[in-house]
Symmetry: C2
Subunit: 115 residues, 2 copies
DNA sequence: GAATCAATTCGAGAGTTATCGAAATGTCGA
DNA sequence: TCGACATTTCGATAACTCTCGAATTGATTC
């Protein structure tokens, strides 16, 4: 729906792709809400895609609110939502957090970008 | 005024200190505002402490708003403010961004914390 | 088709925050 | 002490967002 710039990478495994300014703002805003962060943690912790019911069990929020947060995380590109009939499954989109982290670390003087 | 948990580290140089949940929320909220992020970038980019006048030149905001954002960044622990008479100087507090970045990366499955 | 369950959308209330102009505080030099 | 300048605080407005219950959509089963 939105991004098609991903996964086309040659050899080196862990090189994080750059995130645009706009997407970075989206991601940071998504992470800034404590509940959403906790939800993301739950998704990350579970090895397999997380069902909404499990997510609800972990967070004391209504279904409407959960739906809202899921959409925020998805819009930010932090998670993938696999819609399978009646159920939806949430999984972490790998690389996004790493890219953000790399961008943040790059601001620090110690990690001089010149090498 | 707030944190006294810092700098007590034995040997290994770059090991980032953990951030509490509350502080992480503060930091992420501080970073989530585009203007604030840009301000932080300016501070980081400048090698030496940045004067408020330079900050204002870089950002199209009023003095009141700038003051507000500075306080947010300071409260989050992202910057240090050296108050020197009439002028204030902003500098990046090293290690905080790195700690946050490390915490975020740790959520990704690739960097299995089990080793 | 009707009932049931999962998830979303709608509408609204409460709380938070970004922003500014105006006023206040603090500092320096004359 | 006075005036000029830097920064903060105050007060207020507008915009945003978290949250929920109720209504809706969509899929499955009977």
């Amino acid at each position: 729906m939105a991004n098609s710039r991903q996964a086309v990478r040659g050899r080196e495994a862990a090189k994080p792709a750059r995130v645009s300014r706009a997407q970075r703002a989206l991601i940071l805003k998504a992470l800034a809400d404590p509940r959403r962060f906790e939800l993301l943690q739950q998704i990350a912790k579970a090895g397999c895609p997380l069902g909404c019911a499990q997510a609800r069990a972990a967070l004391p929020i209504s279904a409407a609110t959960l739906s809202h947060h899921i959409k925020e995380l998805e819009t930010a590109g932090l998670i993938d939502v696999r819609r399978e009939g009646k159920f939806h499954y949430l999984s972490l989109r790998v690389g996004v957090l790493a890219s953000l982290a790399a961008g943040l670390s790059a601001l620090e003087p110690a990690s001089a970008p010149g090498r």
